[in-house]
Symmetry: C2
Subunit: 228 residues, 2 copies
DNA sequence: TGAAACAAACCGACCGTCGGTCTATTTATA
DNA sequence: TATAAATAGACCGACGGTCGGTTTGTTTCA
């Protein structure tokens, strides 16, 4: 193979790019290190120069994903006129917008993440997302608690628990997607919509907010997402 | 090797026994099929006669674990004089009692489950526990909603979300354990206790119960568990 | 009654794959 | 030109899984 040298971060990013694509496309366990280095056009020596193990590569993929997620979320809560509840709603609204924009990509992601050969991938990504999200949400809760707009005596714990609820939503989103693909749009949309509402209600009640304060979803979102 | 024949379910249970022990002791990925068959004194052929893959063995371990957990929990809510909230509290109280009784074993389990080589083990067990627990809790919520003692319009979704919160608690339990082992009993107990309270509060609020209805923990539990 | 036929349980040598190692070589830079 | 970083790719050992066969118990029927 021709010997080409590139700036380290370019190479390692290329490897992460290929890995990310292959992991989601064929699954983590089904993707071999050889597949990755072949796709990246790099030797095994070069690969192990950048990553101590396949596991480390997975971690890099997850971390970069979480980092990008954070960068996408940060600006949503930048508006200084928003109170804590407004910020939470801004996060939800922004997430919905992003979900609709990247619907097809997200659907693939979901289908991939819930496959049994991807538990490691799923777990690492969940962990990384949690790690960047908890401080963000905890800070909002702290502000809200100080403002008196919501009640969260232990912001870190509350943030962790609130974010944990995402998992239930993600799971039902996956189920709804399968149901949609099986032809049952109505059932899928109804199920997803119901759970999203429950999700919003759970957050409201946990934070002692008035009914309807949290807009975890909006009227036509579930259908739109499924059909997108 | 001498050829010994046993009733199929005895053999497969022996294999699951050995696997369970080895998985928790050395980790899922660190345990080879050869380790298992050696421990069970069985040939490779016999193993693959019972399980199509190592993965299938893991699933069997997780399923059996969840099943046993369910059988331990069922009797706790048998008292017909209990209302739904009483049943929930009975579950919590029973879980605490069991946790204290099997403290040392549980600590090992926790330490094992959170190791990176055990994501698959963790995930499968979590999944299996969720699968048996959701119907149980949903049924309690349904009853409570009918009784009017609590508010849970969508029992399945609510049960799923409530149970999801366990993960946060489990995670902090693990952290607390590490902290305790590092010598900081006070800090560990305080952290664990705080989160358990928050956990109870989250459930109360979500189900629209009066403050203090749910006893997710009791005064000296955290310390007792850590020191046990 | 007993032997032939059959199915389930079991054995262990063997295989292909895959993550990871190692030595050699090239490239950039001080 | 010395040194370290980067790259190449042959190679290794372990592991999950396969396969051809053997043993054991049970059923069938002359």
């Amino acid at each position: 193979m021709v010997r080409t040298k590139k700036p380290p971060e370019v190479r390692s990013n290329e490897l992460i790019d290929c890995a990310e694509r292959l992991f989601f496309q064929h699954g983590y366990e089904n993707t071999t290190v050889n597949d990755v280095i072949q796709a990246a056009n790099v030797s095994k020596g070069a690969f192990y120069h950048y990553f101590v193990s396949k596991e480390a590569l997975l971690e890099a993929v997850a971390t970069r994903l979480a980092q990008r997620n954070l960068e996408a979320l940060q600006p949503l809560i930048g508006d200084p006129s928003l109170d804590a509840v407004g910020q939470l709603n801004a996060l939800f609204a922004g997430s919905r917008r992003m979900k609709l924009e990247m619907a097809s990509q997200l659907k693939n992601t979901f289908n991939a993440l819930f496959k049994p050969e991807n538990v490691a991938l799923y777990h690492r990504i969940d962990e990384a997302l949690l790690a960047v999200s908890i401080p963000l949400v905890a800070e909002i809760l702290r502000r809200g608690h100080a403002e008196g707009t919501l009640d969260a005596p232990d912001p870190e714990a509350a943030a962790s628990m609130l974010l944990q609820l995402r998992v239930s939503v993600a799971r039902v989103m996956h189920k709804a997607l399968q149901r949609y693909e099986a032809g049952d749009l109505e059932g899928a949309a109804a199920m997803l919509d119901g759970w999203m509402r429950t999700y919003g209600t759970a957050i409201e009640r946990f934070l002692k907010l008035p009914d309807g304060s949290i807009e975890a979803t909006e009227p036509r979102f579930s259908r739109a997402f499924l059909e997108a």
